[in-house]
Subunit: 214 residues, 2 copies
């Protein structure tokens, strides 16, 4: 019975995601779903991305968190539009929540919408939000063995961002191991090594983003 209900929930989510995808495609907006553990640096990466593309690409952010408006406030401080969804305890965003958020944004001024999912490397992987591309972000302090433990997060992603590379010298983290493991799960995965703190590695990530937007 649990399985049946879960299938129903997922099927309803798929319908809603498909509608989001069509709506955003018609508006020529690139939509990205960003997934990571808590504290990997999603918000800092978005702040840096928005600031470095300012005047060239207009980015809006949909923030998912169990509670608090903290992340949306940080994004708004960059001048970008941001909508906070408080999931009230739910461990992932759903496509219906994203539909509501999209219709709250001033949509005509936007080139790219980035959805920052709830900090959780497990549950968000199962929920299509209507994104065009999915980005998984891991940070150096989390360790280099994450692919084996959380394979779905990598197998369903288009891009892997390895963040906090400025900490590599202080930690035992094998960049080649995680790259090799991730490419086994998704052979055409794009991988960028970045530091959202220093800006290192952002050129390639921003190039990918702007080219994918076209």
């Amino acid at each position: 019975m649990k399985l049946k209900i879960n299938k129903k929930i997922l099927a309803k989510n798929e319908d809603c995601a498909a509608a989001n995808r069509k709506f955003l495609k018609d508006k020529n907006i690139l939509c990205i779903n960003m997934i990571s553990s808590p504290g990997s640096g999603k918000t800092t990466t978005l702040e840096k991305t928005i600031n470095m593309l300012k005047g060239k690409v207009n980015i809006a952010v949909i923030e998912g968190d169990l509670q608090t408006q903290l992340d949306a406030e940080r994004i708004r401080a960059t001048g970008a539009q941001a909508i906070q969804i408080e999931t009230k305890g739910a461990c992932h965003l759903s496509a219906a929540q994203v539909t509501n958020a999209i219709h709250t944004l001033n949509i005509d001024q936007i080139d790219i919408i980035i959805i920052e999912n709830v900090g959780n490397l497990v549950c968000p992987s199962d929920f299509d939000l209507g994104e065009e591309k999915r980005v998984v972000l891991v940070s150096v302090p989390e360790g280099d063995e994450k692919c084996a433990k959380y394979p779905k997060a990598f197998a369903k992603a288009d891009v892997l961002l390895i963040n906090k590379i400025d900490l590599l010298e202080h930690l035992d983290f094998d960049v080649n191991r995680i790259k090799k493991d991730a490419l086994k799960l998704k052979k055409d995965l794009k991988i960028f090594e970045i530091s959202a703190k220093t800006g290192d590695g952002f050129e390639d990530w921003l190039n990918w983003l702007t080219k994918t937007k076209k």
Copy 2:
């Protein structure tokens, strides 16, 4: 309907957790449920804890992961008993899974069982496993604002371990902020600052552990 099913699942879990708690109490075994994000250092903390108490306190570990036996293998390398539960995609351990694991352990040789939950700061908080005490672990690179975003993980814990304090000098992390926020959520929370890498701060944590075992 979803809510009704969820309530049923939680009620069934509570029954099973109560049975685990009674069984372990009768055997005079302290059971701890450890919760954190992926990559916060749960396994490294357990390795260090087991090694530092070797010959004094006999610790066994029940490992929860989506998949892989990696963590149980690391624990077994210390000489301790370890059982790996592969949840096959489920985002938390359930009390029934722990029951099975307990009955696989050689129970007469154990003083303390530590359950390392699936790396996830959200979902495991809702599932009582039959533990006597709950430990939430956060690491310095994750940032000091975790209490506001994931309040349940802290409000339901008995101990907060702040790990990777050896990285404090490289990161912008306010120990007092997270302590203050955590104590607002749980006023009698015990807080220990540790480095599972260097062993710093372990004395107080191990004292708490051995005193709580009695």
